[in-house]
Symmetry: D4
Subunit: 248 residues, 8 copies
């Protein structure tokens, strides 16, 4: 409920068409669907321009079925993250249009046409093993109507690979860097492009990588300016943030 509807409603209060009690209730009442275990934010797309995303991890199959069942009553697009194959199979019964990406563990249902922006987002990965996270960012960006250029396996150990693709990277409006191990690629790219850079540390590595902590700390301490960092393995978050920037 934005300021305009508030004004409108209060005018109706003045005219006596709505009682103060009722208005008071409406002001305190907020727009979501309560299905017991979950409150579905059906008006989120209207409010912030993005439909609600379902974080599947930790939810039971039953809960997911009820959530998707409810969302399927509407006609919006739906995005689910961190879904297992078993979750997909359980949900897939509800609609044949749901697509599952086993590498990035995303679920999408596209019922409304997606309007693509003119400008693009570049996703740059350090290694092949970072691809699941990169794909999560890529599919998220696509879902929100962004063109994506994916550039893989250009980690700094062979930095000449990066330089040959720099022109492609520089054409993008926003750059996402996905890297595990020491995550140095974020600093190198950050120093080479003048665009906003979003760094995604991944848990690729072993030993003192401590499940991505090394890459995370590395990216937070980057000597390059203009780099924002998201959680370890959070390809979705990087894609979402890149989309809000790309769509400005």
């Amino acid at each position: 409920m934005d300021k305009n509807s508030l004004l409108q409603m209060l005018s109706q209060v003045r005219k006596g068409k709505i009682t103060p009690e009722e208005a008071s209730q409406r002001i305190l009442e907020l727009p979501y669907q309560d299905i017991g275990h979950t409150k579905l934010d059906m008006m989120r797309e209207m409010r912030v321009g993005y439909p609600e995303v379902i974080y599947c991890e930790g939810k039971t199959l039953n809960q997911l079925q009820e959530i998707f069942g409810k969302l399927l009553e509407g006609d919006g697009n739906i995005l689910g993250t961190r879904a297992t194959e078993e979750m997909y199979r359980s949900i897939a019964r509800l609609s044949k249009e749901i697509v599952y990406y086993p590498v990035s563990r995303l679920l999408t249902l596209k019922r409304q046409p997606i309007m693509y922006s003119e400008t693009s987002v570049a996703i740059v990965t350090a290694g092949t093993s970072d691809l699941p996270v990169a794909e999560e960012a890529e599919k998220t960006l696509d879902f929100y109507g962004n063109k994506v250029k994916m550039i893989t396996d250009v980690g700094v150990a062979g930095i000449h690979r990066l330089f040959s693709v720099l022109p492609v990277i520089r054409e993008a409006r926003v750059v996402i860097v996905v890297a595990g191990m020491e995550g140095a690629l974020a600093s190198v790219v950050g120093g080479l492009v003048e665009k906003p850079v979003i760094a995604v540390p991944t848990s690729v590595g072993y030993g003192a990588s401590f499940q991505g902590l090394a890459a995370l700390l590395s990216m937070l301490n980057t000597c390059a300016s203009g780099v924002g960092v998201v959680n370890i393995d959070n390809g979705f978050g990087a894609g979402y943030l890149a989309s809000t920037i790309n769509k400005l």
Copy 2:
């Protein structure tokens, strides 16, 4: 053995009905049942008003059977926490009245009527994935005779969901906030209600959540006053503490 019984017993010593040796022994002797691997605190309910709770994790099936077997000789209510399904099946042979909650992994046996308090405790969860911990708190509160209001999925990313349920939360005498990820809900609720707030960080999340550490630190550093924190995923502890407060 409280001060009164001590006085009483010492009076009997004076009267010569009990020898000093015997009295000395009784004072040093303390009220529990020793079954080898475990000392069952049979008089705990009398002493602190709460029956002993069995922490099942790390105990063998044999040990659990002996513990519950002993407790079943009495007629008190019994609560078991962090029990696997296999543990339940093993114990269930001893008594058909034992109930198992697979989501929260609690075992209960209610043989005495539960006297419910007038006032209630509110449990507020940030997301659907926090439900197992919230249910552990809920069933614990119920076991100890508290009325509970469960409010789920009102995390701060869609804060309007929280505001519409605030009146319900404010009716409670104590509020438990259950949240993973960044655990911000505890601070927001703590700033909105004037009641004692108990915050339970959960291990919901990934990457830099470090199995609940992020939510734990967040809750400990809350800028809201009047928030006490329990261990990560410790729904039982939150329920127990809330019960001691609610019953004051």
Copy 3:
């Protein structure tokens, strides 16, 4: 602005005494005083029953003077935490009634009579070195109208000291345990009393105490039920929480 005033104001909208625009503005307008760097929550006492507390650390002398200057225009009681002696001297020029506690680094200004509760809160410390934190809790409790019983230096290394004061502790409605080093006192007290226990880890110790981390982890993992934990050295938070419980 609570629900009643909202109803009242909306009635005036109905009667045409307030325009919808004006009402809309008032609803969105919230009760604080903006003095540039700080937003003073002048109506906090009305809203949650406790006046706003000034966290002094990290504020400049100028900012503190402006904040206290503004608050002194009202006639409420004022509490400042983590204030240095220099801060006190700077503020003291504004009012001679401001009292400074150099050990706990609290500032208080009491202009309204404090109504004391019947029941009391016990503060139990493990060692003499924990006194600054304990005093912070004590003066906070006093400021909010709670009677306090302070029991010092009963750490578990000489546990007989604790047992002799147990009757005094058990008379209280809420118990605060303040301990550094390994913080074991919280568990021992938590196992002996049936009241809500608030544990405050302190940074007393050295080496692997890691500035209070050892005591903090110890208290969070307590084997006693019914213990809530606040931040390291957070005597104020413990006092505030104890007060909300004691006043129920």
Copy 4:
């Protein structure tokens, strides 16, 4: 040296005006000024649109004088970060136009007119103690030609303060959230605005804040989508990133 100049130079090679040896050298030679301890990137402004920034911490007074002396030979604008008052006094002898901000410890020298963008960046702080970091972001944004709206002291413990300023925040193109302690403000703001949000954890707090670690982890694990995080206390980095986004 971009692709165009390379083409141009190679044309001159073809025409025999430049020897292959010379061209080869130029290609390998890169544009900076070497003053012994430091390589000044004089062409950075041309290359990425931003003049080089001097990170003053850890440099000796002598080194800083040589660096600024060299930069003063040009006519560009200069920004220095994390400078002590002593550093400022040492540099100030070289030019009276250098301005020092003691709270945020920035040095600026503006010799070229700054072209301001139409759109603005909002900086939102949780508390008054976060102001030094917020000012670092503010002055950085101003230096790079961005309009800034500073909104202070709207931490989540009194969330009504935030709601009253939401319209102002929503007018901005990018939002920077500066918060210490538990850093929950980033999640709440991230859930309320549809713009890119940059979160800056600060070291404000004590105990288990571990010098800003709690706020950092909290922001990385935010349940709100579209939030990028920079290093603890890194107001400059947040300002720089916001500028690259705002200028798109």
Copy 5:
């Protein structure tokens, strides 16, 4: 080779019975059996009074068979730690006398009579779940000829259980305390007995116990004097150390 044998051998050198080259070789040659992957310290019992112990974890079945096969050629007693059931079955083929303790995962082979000391070691556990670690200490102590008194489940949450067994604990010459969660039992016992206390933190617990870190830090920071700590879950190490003390 102790000083006496060295003198003896050098006398034989003087007498010309051993060439200097041979003597030089012998001095550099040290007493162990090399079986490729492992160097078996066959003379360890002679040198330090304790036979070598086989740390089974991380060794292949083949390696273990070769190690035990070699040791079985001698006639000493053998102790294996952290052995899986599969390892046992693989070794058991070599000798029917090998005994396996599935709870503590120890292997023992006793071929020489064990001479028991007069004095005893007490093992005190906080909970039933600490039993595997306690049994590891118990069987180790037995293997080295110490009498053991095992006292289980006397954690501080019900401290009266501890007091009733204090006389038994005080009869021991050395006391081992085994505790997980917050490990407070070590401090309480350390304050009550005047004997050397060895504390063993266990990984019993969850959440902020961080696999035993909480108990470990707690024990290292104990306010009781005279407590030595071994690694998390290291029942063997505690038993070994207790044995060296008990046998003095």
Copy 6:
């Protein structure tokens, strides 16, 4: 109050010489002197054989004067740890017999003759910089009547230094190893002697020593059997524990 005195007192109750009330009070009353901020355990020497030790850190000069003033009323020996020079000067006014060791920051007052044990304790340090901690152990051992052999600067980087002093070390009944940096000396000594070894990690080092954490973890994970570890820099604790072992 031991069992004998309890029996005696109860006999007097039987004879009517003590009222039950009085006896009840005495049983609950425990032997210490309460001087407000501190409870002095005057009978500790009688109970556990060691006089109470004053941990000076974190206590005010006033508190220390009152504590030592009270203790000086008795005639026992006194030990103070972690005392600053300023603390010493403040206490020194009370008695000229108090001795201060500025390197180890100990205070001692010896009024009773010290009975030395026959056997000795060896203290072995890795480097010269570990001497303050080693001296704390040495003076503590001396205070409790143990003969000490101090062997300094035999760190493993030049392991031949250690071998030449091995015979001296082996004469001792207990060995304390004091080492910072990587703390490897504890493992090497532990493998060479058959006596109980107490390892004291020190904060000597820099960078990834993390104030002694590296040495602490190293010692806890020692591959040598029979090593107990105390807190970082805790020379007193090591000395105390060694004394309880040496005096067996």
Copy 7:
């Protein structure tokens, strides 16, 4: 493309045989094979003297098949690290010459004769459980043409085992020390040999070894000079570094 080829090509530009556009493209073009998910650095052997190594972990079977398929088109030697048995079976179909080492999880394909250096590298392990990491180093060194001497199970708990093999160790040009638990062997060896020492911490251990952290910190803080450390369990990295040194 080295400086010579650049000069050559530029000469052809001068002669008009190559257009500037084409030359410009070639300079920016860099030598690798792009197979979509991976960029194969086919000229790496020419550039730095070592063929590219395939880090198998985190790659899908499909990706590995495509990578090895591409590499098999050439005739160089191939090394794959951290490969599972399943990966091996999938790759093995492509060429029968691929060898798999299940203990160290290496894959090798040797098609070119390996030229062995005169000098050797010694690998010293603390325990039998460190063998998988040691073998990874050994096979890597062999692959790159180094002679290796493997000395196993000479941990410091029985330091005499180390001394008897010292002459063998001292014959090597470079020494690799592989140790878990407290990793003390690196310091002892570092103090005994005058050659470069490379330390590899392993995750062998439990409890406070924290998956190799203890050994890592220990090695980084070694009191011996001349020790370089690689990641936990990184036998490949140690072998590679040793090879670059041995081949100097």
Copy 8:
């Protein structure tokens, strides 16, 4: 005492010129000078080719004077690390030839001519603030007779600076990379040169650099092969290791 001298001495035993007792003593006796608090390894230069280095931190002025006084009795070169200006002034009285480097805090006394190797070591720093650590490595290398090429301020944020100096770096036999913040320079250099690379993380940075931890983890997890890491800020260790490699 090497094998030859042992043989020689044993021959003299055979001839009766040395008694077995005396020989036995000499074998056990090892070559150092004991000055109480410190054991000076006077024959270290003979044994491992490098004179002993004095780690000054944590030593008293008195101890340092005695150590240097003793060393000055010989005629070797001396190196002291981590010395304060005050330490230098105290030592300088003993010999006018002692040189102090205030930036790197090294002390050197060169009395023997230094024989320089033909080959050189390159030191590459990321920023100007890393110079103190780089100078420590540089002066150490010089002290041990290595030619050094120092290349400063080529951090990856402006990677073109690095490429222009690559030929200089590639001429060296060993490369030391000194970098703070995210330490990415080590990976980039490691990928560009085929020589052994030694990485030194520095404590340059703030916030989540955690005093150099970020750079340390980054370097340990480098995706480039052939990189060995030393402790944070350990310029001496890097120089020493580089020297042992360069002198091979």
